[in-house]
Amino acid sequence: MPLPPRVRCPKPDTYRSLAPEVQSTEAVTARASDNGPQPHTLLALYQVMVMARAIERRLWVLDHLEPPHAVGRSLWPPHPVGRSLWPPHPVGRSQPGREATRLGVGGPTLVVAGFEAVQAAAAAALRIGHDWVVPCHLDLALCLAAGLSPLDVMLAVFGRAADRASAGRQSPGAFGSRAGRIVMTSATAGRSVVQAAGIAYASKVSGRDEVTLVCSDERGVQSGDWHEGINFAGAHGLPLICLVEDLAGAQPLAQSSYGSPAARAEGYGLASETIDGGDFAAALAAFERAVDRARSSGGPTLIHASVVDLTSIGPDGGMRPAEELEALASQDPIDRMRRGLQGAGLLDAAADDDVQRECARVVAAAVEEASTAPSPDVASALDNVFSRV
């Protein structure tokens, strides 16, 4: 994707430029032309990626601040403290709590480093607020780009009453906003794919040109609901994009079959692409093709994106050697995006420092506000079981 000519980098003086109340669809998804996003859009997406990483880093710090008396209260097992730049991997690859760990505030956190580029690219190809996003627990950057704020994320992490997605009911990672058409899902990989197919079916039969993006990790493609969902989407030629965010390239699942998700999707009548999920430009191009296909009644697409594992514990459960970590770090999608922006003259070192500082500041402010916000009162646990109508 040719990057646009050098422009002056806007000072990222406030992250609220991407917050829901002021964010316009154009701000994130506008195109200067068919050649690609406008420079300010690329920079905004870069900022989203940095913000997602800053949130994850902050959660790890919060986790390590857990007071001794709280250890053992958590649902999640303890983990070794990483010695590298990258967060340690909390639990074994094959365990269901892979994405989660203890948090000083008493809940599991998110491990989503490495997923930022493919998610930012997906958001850039969609019409935010018009199209539907059905995320999984990995999709922090996607949901930030789709309208959630760092404060939204932190209020959920701390389980606060002001958490707009669920008032502190769902575990962190269950992103949602009806206003933003970010569908809150449950905690099971793959289950939401049939629901996404239903959303897309409703769009189709209602004659609306909405596209639905549904995401899962590599484990989700093994569930029955995933297969039932893409079978339905293929049978009806639905405007659905199924993104598989796959770390399995780094650590293959012993339980998985040899067939790639893309090959399986083709068997169900979907178009498919296999991409490097760390390459923003390539991912954006793939999503734009998929969105065009969906919006022009061309049917569903599966995008199988390989994602680099940046965590410091290897497949065998031991710490990765320093040289391996350095090699992984060279594939960091945020660094790759940064180099691309710098190479195109869109970002210089000073502006990048501003982005980093601003993200750190916004995350710190979000933590401060969320940590002191009130919890839900006990009586409200009985609310919203049924409609009051």
Binding site: G198, V205, E228, V385, F386
Partner: protein
């Protein structure tokens, strides 16, 4: 009008009234459903609104949930309640929990229709009663009509309900009885039970086919001079506790009749409510007449009859309780 026609009338009228309503399920389209509940709808409303689905129940309910999230009002048919189990997760963890987990931001206005019950030589996999699994789940309404007019009025209410409703139709009742069913906008609210037969000696609580069997048994006891009250619960969630307790306080004796096997069946919940809230009014043990604790209803005639409560078994139990 029989119940099967009442169900069809309710769906037809709601689809005419609101273009967001659609039906989906196995063979509901061209075939019109294995029992004919959706007969003629495909021709009338077209393929997009009368959708034949793959034989994949989790997918049927999951797709219905998604369509509801995006503004439609799906009526998902599970061909037999015995086949609903693959969708348990979508119903319980997804549909019933969506409003709660989003603190009211999202809701899932779907109806899941499922023919249930035995006595038709359906064997192990076409005879089950599944109400206890689902009446246990907060966030889900469970409706079990026993009469055609109620079937129409309750189904129309279910379609208009903003929350997920499991609508259980006893397959033997589909063509068992006929009655006048009001034309047009006949709505029966979800929740209230109805006293089908007033009595003073004991109270009998039932739903679906068992309501009819209890009424037949009560008729036998009336011939002996014993007055039995029969309450048709109609809805198990929400449950009309007031009508149950009011009846027990009047008669002093309670019997619950259901086809589902006895242990952990919904009768246990009703018995607990009565013992907790009407203990002082009781003049005898709370009795449950239900299927035996075997995995499912056998196909062969003697064992199917052994499994099913029937008017003779119920009348015998009524006499015993009345004499207590």
């Amino acid at each position: 009008m029989r119940m099967i026609e009442a169900v069809r009338a309710a769906i037809t009228e709601e689809m005419e009234r609101d273009e967001r309503v659609l039906v989906m399920g196995e063979d509901v389209g061209r075939k019109g459903g294995v029992f004919g509940a959706t007969d003629g709808l495909y021709a009338k409303f077209g393929e997009a609104r009368v959708l034949d689905t793959p034989l994949a129940e989790s997918g049927i309910v999951g797709v219905a949930i998604g369509a509801a999230l995006n503004g439609l009002i799906p009526i998902a048919e599970i061909q037999f309640a015995d086949f609903i189990h693959p969708a348990f997760d979508q119903i319980v963890s997804e549909a019933a929990r969506t409003r709660y987990r989003s603190n009211g931001d999202w809701s899932v206005p779907i109806v899941i229709r499922a023919p249930f019950g035995g006595g038709v030589h359906g064997g192990l996999y076409h005879s089950q009663s599944v109400e206890a699994f689902y009446a246990h789940v907060p966030g889900l309404k469970v409706v079990v009509p026993s009469m055609p007019a109620d079937a129409k009025g309750l189904l129309k209410s279910a379609i208009r309900d903003p929350d997920p409703v499991l609508f259980l139709e006893h397959k033997k009742v589909y063509r068992l009885v006929a009655e006048e069913v009001p034309d047009g906008d006949h709505l029966v609210p979800i929740g209230p039970a109805v006293v089908r037969r007033e009595g003073v000696k004991l109270s009998c609580f039932a739903w679906g086919l068992m309501t009819h069997y209890c009424l037949q048994a009560a008729e036998q006891l009336a011939a002996d001079g014993t007055s039995v009250e029969v309450v048709d619960l109609r809805c198990l969630a929400p449950l009309d506790r007031d009508t149950i307790l009011e009846s027990v306080r009047k008669t002093g004796k309670a019997m619950i009749v259901h086809e589902d096997n006895i242990t952990g069946g919904f009768g246990a919940e009703i018995a607990a409510i009565i013992s907790e809230h009407a203990f002082d009014s009781l003049d005898g043990p709370v009795v449950r007449i239900a299927g035996p604790d075997i995995p499912a209803m056998p196909f062969n005639t003697p064992q199917e009859e052994f499994f099913m409560p029937n008017p003779v078994k119920i009348a015998e139990a009524m006499r015993k309780l009345a004499a207590y």
